[in-house]
């Protein structure tokens, strides 16, 4: 489903995408289009994109094509989703221990929408860290 979403092809574009969004959240998925995890995540993103378009824009970045952020944002997972608002990286307390990003594929569109909404609300209030509506710590998986 990656072809339904806008790709960014170099670091400059990534920076511009984050910079030029004044009112909306910028959500960037770092990963590879061919990766199964990314495919699952992209499916969710595509489903959510239309519903979220009023307050959020979603981009995809291939981390082989654009390796510039790999070290800076520790892009070692198959799929990473990060949130930016007015050139500020917004952190989320997901309960996983890594507050910087979502580094797994979310299958539930509504859950993702909820997270984005929470991030947006927090970011609008000037928060740098928001608490996810659901706890994703591994103890709830089993």
């Amino acid at each position: 489903m990656s072809y339904m979403l806008q790709h960014l092809n170099n670091g400059w574009q990534v920076d511009q995408a984050i910079l030029c969004e004044e009112e909306r959240l910028t959500v960037i998925r770092f990963g590879h289009d061919w990766d199964p995890t990314c495919m699952a995540m992209d499916e969710t993103l595509m489903n959510a994109a239309e519903k979220l378009k009023n307050f959020c824009i979603i981009y995809l970045v291939d981390i082989t094509e654009v390796p510039d952020f790999n070290k800076m944002y520790e892009l070692y997972d198959p799929c990473t989703v990060m949130f930016f608002y007015r050139n500020k990286h917004i952190m989320i307390d997901l309960g996983t221990g890594n507050n910087n990003k979502i580094n797994w594929a979310m299958e539930d569109t509504q859950e993702f929408i909820d997270i984005v909404e929470t991030v947006f609300r927090g970011a609008r209030k000037g928060r740098g860290l928001v608490v996810s509506p659901k706890d994703y710590s591994t103890k709830y998986r089993y």
Binding site: Q6, N9, D15, A17, L19, C20, F69
Partner: protein, 929 residues
């Protein structure tokens, strides 16, 4: 900011563009990274952009361009020499390089000299060090090895560590809320008025801690202009701020649930709804009542209740105790006091109360209920009975607590004290043995001559001890003595008693009561009607013996009434055994020998039981009673043919033809011959029959069908045409002809035949249906729909047409059509079946089952519905459900239904039973789509 302003905010003109030359991603917008997972990826390089979030405060850069190196002697260290190099600023030239090399070589040489020894010593030292202070890992290695023996259960049952902190630390004190001062509120008012925009400082510090500008200035708001409304608003504002603050703290963890907090506040309100002023007023009023009229008990009770409602239990107790002092003779006050007092005090109050009022039953009962132990309760009741020996209520409560033997003794005393209580008498009789019980009941009768229950229980008692002859006497005497004592005999009550007797197992008593009482108070002309109603009512209550007795009584009175016999026979068939049914039928035919139905029922019952000779003899007797009865002839023929006595059947039919030559007899004869394959005789018979009864359509149909069967289509056509001339109203004949034409490939001819039929038979839904189907089979869907519309206009209430119409529609419209159909023919089995098929096709299985059940309930004679239901259960139901449907179908014995008849009327199936036809039809069915 500066970076953002460079970007065009409206257009995204960066998509697909290459990056500018030398652009460093991330740096361009001042991004900062983070380090959380240096374990798997490289931690950041020194050249990377630092994480500003954790950066130490940047020191102010010094204005001096460079700090000079400290070359002072004070900086000299014995080991590393001087702090800096004097020659640092000089260029590094060839001489320097050479010198460095030489130094290097010397160092190396010196190093190699003692290398071996040094390394050995180092190793030794390390070993010694390890021995002295082993690593924790090594220290525990032996214990760790033992861990493998720990089982999973032991792991899981490891005790929790527990919280070793003391209680104060474990449960941190809750936040303490203190009332706000008015000056603070006034400030808040000001805030609410003046600043609508959020002060950035407010935002930063969380609003409340901000010093309010201008709030402290004296004279800005004086105490004169504080009005309560504004203060109330201000309080709300403050509360709101406080709540949002607590609930939305920066850490994101909600400390106080605002909703719960508010409900907490709600629950702190006084529980009663009234206003405090009202309570005060009421208190005042009640006080004045008490003082002016202290001997008025309700005033005291009302006062105590008021205090109780407002939550002041102690005050209410005090009041009621005073009330007890003032009005010691009021039962109500004492009871209220006992209710309000807790445990032991209540007991004390009650003892005082019974001292004051020893004759109050209610007080004694209260006293007993307050007692917790059984023994105490018994004691209280005994004392009470000493005081009030004639209270039935007390006796009953006291007896309930005793065991059987004591209860008997107490009851014998009780009936002496309260001789008019029927319940006590009956209870005593129940506990006594037979002889004593008789005595008890006799005594009871003497003391209460007006109660029927005693008589009935006496009758029951006799029956239980086998004295059946006594029952009748007792009941007769009961009626006589009750009448003598001016008691009106109520038939309904007595019949109800009879039903109760039956459910208690006293069948004889029940019968005797019915016999004695059934005629009481019924007008001569109403008798039959009323009795039948009574019998049906009893049967529906499940009191079959009672109903049987009523029928028996009715039959002795109306021995020659056929309808009563029939009803009694149906009752026996439904609820009785075969023997009772046959006995009843025998008596019935003796009384009404002309009732063919009764004879036939008797014969059928015998035949079903497999007793063919008995059935034959019954039919023979029936012949004697009703010579030349067509029904009995045919029944006899059926009996013989079903039992493979074809010769006898033929002879019987021959006799029947001569003595009772009706069309039906002829038809049955032809059918028999046809079934037995004797076509020649069948045709001869048909010729004969048609000469005599040319307008009996079924004969024509048979003839035509025989011709069709023998592939003589022209002959069949001719026969049908002749038949139609004689009987133009025979719908099946028309349809047969049209099908014949259709089968021979003449669609137009079939159509015209049906049109002619419709002309001759107005508003006949069957013909319309056939026309529609002809078109449908011919593949002309739109013509079929047009025809259907016309058919609907002519017969708007025909279920078969609606059912067909539903499935003629395209799938999406079917639902609306079915709703229309249900509106028109709510109680038509065809429509219901179509609707259930619709649900079935939509795979709404539960609904389909409901509707199928409804269909077979509304018309149990409709074979198609049963077949569909069976098919449905075969596909979707369990084995039990399939069996249940089959059984129900066999009970219902369906005869009609289009597909059902198609299968059941095929000559080769002529002797199949219902249970064999059902699967055949179900197999022929297609699952609705």
């Amino acid at each position: 900011m500066s970076v953002q302003s460079l970007v065009n905010k409206k257009k995204k003109d960066f998509i697909g563009l290459p990056s500018p030359l030398g652009y460093v991603p991330g740096l361009g917008r001042g991004a900062t990274g983070f380090t959380t997972r240096s374990d798997i990826g490289p931690a950041r390089d020194a050249s990377d952009i630092s994480d500003d979030r954790h950066a130490p405060p940047v020191k102010k850069p010094k204005n001096d361009d460079e700090e000079e190196e400290d070359l002072n002697d004070a900086n000299y260290d014995e080991f590393s020499g001087y702090g800096g190099s004097i020659c640092k600023k000089d260029p590094y030239d060839k001489d320097d390089e050479e010198a460095d090399e030489i130094y290097e070589a010397v160092d190396k040489r010196m190093d190699e000299k003692r290398k071996e020894r040094r390394e050995e010593r180092l190793k030794e030292e390390i070993e010694r060090y390890r021995q002295e202070r082993p690593k924790i890992q090594q220290q525990f290695s032996d214990l760790k090895r033992e861990l493998k023996d720990v089982s999973f259960d032991e792991w899981s049952s490891l005790p929790e560590v527990g919280d070793a902190r003391n209680r104060k630390q474990r449960n941190p004190r809750k936040e303490v809320y203190t009332a706000m001062s008015d000056s603070f509120l006034a400030k808040a008012v000001q805030q609410g008025q003046s600043s609508t925009a959020i002060d950035p400082r407010d935002q930063k510090y969380g609003g409340l801690d901000t010093p309010f500008p201008g709030g402290m200035t004296p004279g800005g708001t004086t105490s004169t202009d504080i009005d309560m409304k504004k203060i109330g608003q201000a309080r709300n504002t403050l509360m709101d701020i406080k709540l949002t603050q607590v609930s939305d703290s920066v850490s994101g963890q909600t400390v106080v649930d605002p909703k719960g907090y508010l409900t907490d506040l709600q629950s702190m309100l006084p529980s009663h709804g009234g206003d405090i002023n009202d309570v005060k007023k009421a208190r005042l009023l009640l006080k004045s009542v008490r003082e002016t009229n202290p001997k008025h008990p309700p005033a005291w009770i009302a006062s105590a209740r008021l205090e109780e409602v407002t939550g002041k239990v102690q005050a209410s107790r005090n009041l009621i105790m005073k009330g007890c002092e003032e009005c010691p003779k009021s039962e109500d006050v004492w009871l209220e006091a006992a209710r309000l007092m807790p445990g032991d005090q209540a007991k004390a109050v009650v003892t005082q109360a019974v001292k004051q009022l020893p004759d109050s039953v209610r007080l004694w009962i209260k006293a007993a209920t307050i007692e917790v132990e059984l023994k105490g309760k018994k004691r209280v009741y005994r004392k009470a009975l000493e005081q009030i020996p004639n209270s039935v209520r007390l006796w009953k409560l006291a007896v309930e607590l005793e065991d059987q033997e004591d209860a008997r003794i107490m009851l014998s005393r009780a009936v002496e004290c309260c001789p008019t209580s029927v319940e006590l008498w009956l209870a005593l009789a129940r506990l006594e043995n037979y002889e004593n019980a008789r005595k008890v009941l006799n005594k009871a009768r003497e003391s209460i001559p007006t109660d029927r229950q005693i008589w009935i229980s006496a009758a029951k008692l006799e029956e239980a001890n086998g004295n059946i002859h006594m029952i009748e006497k007792i009941i007769d005497r009961a009626l006589a003595s009750l009448r003598a004592n001016m008691v009106e005999i109520n038939r309904e009550q007595w019949i109800k008693d009879a039903e109760d007797c039956e459910s208690a197992g006293s069948i004889h008593t029940c019968q005797v009561i019915v016999r004695a009482v059934i005629g009481v108070g019924v007008e001569e002309e109403d008798r039959k009607h009323t009795w039948m109603e009574d019998a049906e009512a009893s049967a529906s209550h499940g009191a079959y013996e009672c109903a049987r007795a009523i029928y028996a009584q009715a039959l002795t009175v109306f021995a020659s009434k056929k309808s009563i016999w029939l009803r009694a026979a149906y009752f026996e068939k439904n609820h009785g055994s075969r023997e009772s049914l046959e006995a009843l039928l025998q008596r019935a035919v003796a009384h009404c020998p002309k009732a063919e139905m009764l004879w036939l029922m008797g014969a059928k019952s015998k035949w079903l039981a497999g007793d063919v000779p008995a059935a034959r003899s019954i039919l023979a007797l029936a012949f004697q009673a009703n010579p030349n009865s067509e029904e009995i002839w045919l029944a006899a023929v059926k009996l013989e043919s079903e039992n493979n006595e074809f010769e006898r059947a033929r002879r019987l039919l021959q006799k029947a033809r001569t003595s009772a030559p009706t069309a039906r007899v002829f038809m049955k004869s032809v059918k028999l011959e046809w079934c037995l394959g004797d076509m020649k005789t069948a045709e001869d018979l048909l010729d004969d029959a048609l000469n005599q009864y040319p307008d009996f359509a079924k004969l024509w149909m048979m003839r035509g069908q025989i011709a069709e069967e023998e592939d003589e289509l022209d002959k069949a056509r001719e026969v049908y045409n002749m038949g139609l001339k004689k009987c133009p109203r025979a719908i099946p004949l028309w349809i047969l002809l049209s099908r014949l034409e259709e089968r021979s490939g003449y669609l137009t001819k079939a159509r015209s035949i049906l049109e002619k039929a419709r002309l001759k038979n107005n508003a006949c839904p069957e013909l319309w249906l056939e026309s529609v189907r002809v078109e449908n089979r011919g593949g002309l869907k739109n013509i079929a729909q047009g025809l259907m519309a016309r058919a609907m206009q002519e017969c708007p209430n025909s279920g078969i047409l609606w059912a067909e119409a539903i499935f003629l529609e395209a799938r999406p419209q079917r639902k609306t059509k079915s709703v229309d159909a249900l509106k028109r023919c709510e109680h038509d089995a065809h429509v219901l079946l179509a609707v259930s098929k619709l649900f079935w096709s939509e795979r709404k299985l539960g609904k389909a089952r409901d509707w199928l059940t409804r269909t077979v309930k509304i018309d149990p004679d409709h074979g198609d519905a049963w077949a569909n239901f069976y098919k449905y259960e075969l596909l979707h139901g369990t084995e039990e459900q399939q069996e249940a449907i089959k059984k129900r179908c066999i009970n219902a014995e369906p005869k009609h239904g289009e597909l059902w008849c198609k299968t059941s009327k095929v000559i080769s199936n002529w002797r199949l039973k219902c249970e064999e036809i059902l699967p055949l039809v179900a197999n022929a069915l297609s699952v609705p789509t």
